[in-house]
Amino acid sequence: MKPRSILIGAASALAIAGAAQAGTITVVSWGGSYTTSQVEAYHKPWMAKTGHQIISEDYNGGLAEVKAQVEAGNVTWDIVDVELSDAVRGCDEGLFVGIDPSILPAGADGTPAAEDFVPGALSDCAVGTIVWSTAVAYDHTKLTGVEKLGDFFDLQKFPGKRGMRKGPKANLEFALIADGVPVDQVYEVLSTPEGVDRAFAKLDTIKDSVVWWEAGAQPPQLLADGEVVMTTAYNGRIFSAMAGEGKPFTILWDGQVWDLDLWAIPKGAPNQDLALDFLVFSTDTQRLADQAAWISYGPVRKSSNPLVGSFHDKPDLAMGPHMPTAPENFKNALQNDFEFWADHQDELNERFNAWLAK
């Protein structure tokens, strides 16, 4: 090799070493106002503190892309925001690396991490960030007197179209709660064939009036366009439309179905150490509380709750009452049972699709 090319080789090796010092990680999340809240509360402070870069990518949930990357041995994502059911399933199937919860710092008030997080937020391969919820929302300039989940299914009292997510998850739970099943018995009832029949029978009563949505951004749009008078929706999306665009929406908290979102690191991620550092940074007490200034999803650390303030550009809009975890909203809430859905989603999806097509 000529001396010249050795020099070039050494220079490029140096350049690569330099790049490793200021690394870049790819953070994947759900897009829209949710990703904005993460960028403001996690990404920017982490980049400022460490000097590393973050590439933010959007996806639409599910494990398909992660599975494809891991199986092909070509992983480009470093850290992914997943739902609890996917976190557990992906962990069982060896798609995510295990995370030892002892690396997480204690809460700002000194509570050890293991006690600070709400139950379920520390799983074998993932660490929780937010509590989000599927609830019913309506336009209060068009409807008044909506009080309980049963009203969503009452076409006589509240005529007009309904929006629902195209899938059995949460909808079957809503149907049973509206049919009078107490929230703590919903999954017990739904585990029996009669319970499933009962849920579908309840859905039958409004089937002709339902507009089905798929992406989380659709329901606020359907409400704003007047396509529906009431819709199930992710509470943060409705809040963003209310706070950001001044839409006259109200969330009915009765019978909300809540779930967790967590960070997980795909097996074989190119920058695992940086990703882990980002994960630890973004799930500390202050960061989780900061995120709540951008979107109305509840922090999973109990120690973050006292630090939750007001909406980022509206100091008089306190975020507390808009959180799914606020005591007033949490009275009749149901936690999504990931174990039940992991077991029965194939069967219930088929049944739901067959029911839709009928």
Partner: protein, 500 residues
């Protein structure tokens, strides 16, 4: 000359036999031709044929269980699927559960079995967590941990999952269930979804093809028969949407057709919707459309404030002009308020079935939305082949037919139309085959009854992660399309097709 010259083979100038020389020359030219198409052939093989064969095999071949649970897979293969579960099978199962949990593969196994038996997932992961503490007899220990282990149909489902080469996915794609004892039965009635979806896919594709032909034929004729300048301008109008993103065109239809969209607003503003309803009224469900068009307000009023409305309706009963208001009053007078409200609900539901409510037509998020948007998107694929064929038909043929005494219609039907058949064949086949695999448009505007089979394939690819079933569904679709192609060849003849 000597006899040998005539008896021996003909020789070329260099002395080799002419026949072999000719073969050599042909061989080189054949090789040269092959060399020219080789990149294309390699490309097609690598990105088309091999992946298709691979996915069709994936629909038959799923080694997950056998890979991770080899001992119990062997024990289950030896089992006939009917006799009682033996202790040996249970012992092999426990040993595999322990090994699989240690290797962190239990989730894959559990997911695989859960495809065959809903609920088996938590049974597997739950039992695996405690398997290393189990003592013989293992069958009793398993049943004690989860009652599911005591049911023979669970073991039959595991046997199906343990079979690496299995027809189960292709059968599932046809709404059939493959049982562990080798029998094949129909899927439960309320879970049968694939055959109806295949039929609907066929129905939507045929409808789109026919509407494309009806709309595209006159356009192509016009393009081929007007002055060049005007034809060029028209051609751009055909091509412009063709160059626009499919997502943009699909979402544009949402803005046009939705309940509060442009078309509904216009119809409602001009009163056209009432005219359309009156026309539909002539040959459709009188009650349903009648209530929507003529006394929708009465029905809504009855539903909102039953007592007051019914009282006032009854008071002016003699002046009532419409059948539905009449029906409400009769129900009220004979059976009371509740009966009238029930009647109103029934009438409103009937109106909704016809896609009409609140003075608006439902034209999107249903089968109609899918058909309209797909027709618009696929129209150029019909117009272009038709145009290229029509362009080659000399106008003198029509003049000749007419000079021989044919009427306009006869000249068109007997002389012009038969010459366009190659274009119709090409356009129809192109549109139909594109339509049958259509995915993004039905996903966006299909609602509940406008979904096609590709949407279910997508669901299994991205959501349920059941790639084997997705592969089997894709395989069935491919076989179906090849069958249609064969049928087309038999009936019309593929040689008659002309793409340009």
């Amino acid at each position: 000359m000597t006899d040998a010259t005539f008896r021996g083979p003909l020789l070329a100038a260099d002395g080799t036999p002419l026949k072999r020389k000719l073969e050599q020359a042909l061989f080189t030219s054949r090789m040269r031709a092959l060399g020219l198409v080789a990149p294309l052939l390699a490309f097609i093989l690598a990105v088309f044929i091999i992946p298709i064969v691979y996915f069709m095999i994936q629909g038959l071949h799923n080694p997950t269980y056998e890979n991770y649970m080899p001992r119990s897979a062997a024990a289950l293969q030896a089992w006939d699927g009917r006799s009682p579960v033996t202790e040996d099978m249970a012992a092999a199962m426990v040993a595999d559960l322990i090994a699989s949990r240690d290797a962190k593969t239990i989730g894959n196994v559990a997911t695989r079995v859960n495809q065959e038996h809903p609920g088996a997932r938590s049974m597997f992961t739950g039992t695996a967590r405690k398997a290393d503490r189990m003592q013989a007899p293992f069958l009793d220990a398993l049943v004690e941990e989860d009652k599911g282990w005591g049911r023979i149909e669970v073991w039959q489902a595991i046997k199906v999952a343990a079979t690496t080469w299995t027809p189960a996915y292709y059968l599932a794609a046809l709404d059939l269930q493959f049982r562990g004892d080798g029998s094949v039965v129909w899927q439960d009635a309320d879970r049968r979804i694939h055959i109806p979806l295949f039929l609907r896919t066929l129905e939507i594709s045929l409808t789109v093809t026919i509407t494309c032909l009806l709309l595209g034929f006159p356009v192509a004729w016009l393009l081929a028969n007007i002055k060049l300048r005007a034809a060029n301008l028209l051609m751009i109008l055909v091509l412009l949407p063709f160059w626009t993103s499919i997502l943009v065109r699909t979402t544009a239809w949402i803005a046009m057709l939705q309940g509060q969209g442009v078309v509904n607003d216009l119809m409602s503003f001009t009163g056209v919707n009432f005219v359309i309803l009156q026309i539909l009224l002539l040959f459709r469900d009188y009650d349903a459309l009648g209530v929507a068009s003529l006394c929708g307000n009465d029905v809504n009023a009855v539903l909102a404030t039953p007592d007051a409305t019914l009282a006032s309706l009854a008071a002016q009963a003699s002046e009532i002009r419409t059948r539905c208001a009449d029906a409400l009053v009769i129900a009220f007078q004979q059976n009371g308020v509740d009966a009238a409200v029930a009647k109103a609900t029934e009438l409103k539901a009937a109106a909704a079935r016809w896609g009409y409510g609140d003075e608006r037509f439902s034209m999107i998020y249903n089968k109609m939305g899918t058909i309209v948007a797909m027709t618009h998107i696929l129209l150029p694929f019909m117009v272009l082949p038709l145009f290229s064929v029509m362009k080659t038909i000399p106008p003198s043929y029509m003049r000749a037919a007419k000079s021989l005494g044919a009427t306009d219609w006869t000249a068109f039907w007997r002389v012009y139309f038969p010459q366009t058949v190659p274009g119709i064949g090409a356009g129809a086949l192109l549109v139909f085959i594109l339509a049958i695999g259509y995915y993004i448009t039905p996903a966006l505007v299909g609602g509940q009854d406008g979904q096609m089979i590709s949407n279910i394939i997508d669901f299994h690819m991205r959501r349920s992660l059941n790639w084997s079933l997705a592969a089997a569904l894709g395989g069935v679709l491919l076989i179906f399309v090849l069958f249609l192609y064969w049928l087309y060849d038999r009936i019309v003849g593929i040689d008659n097709m002309k793409l340009g």
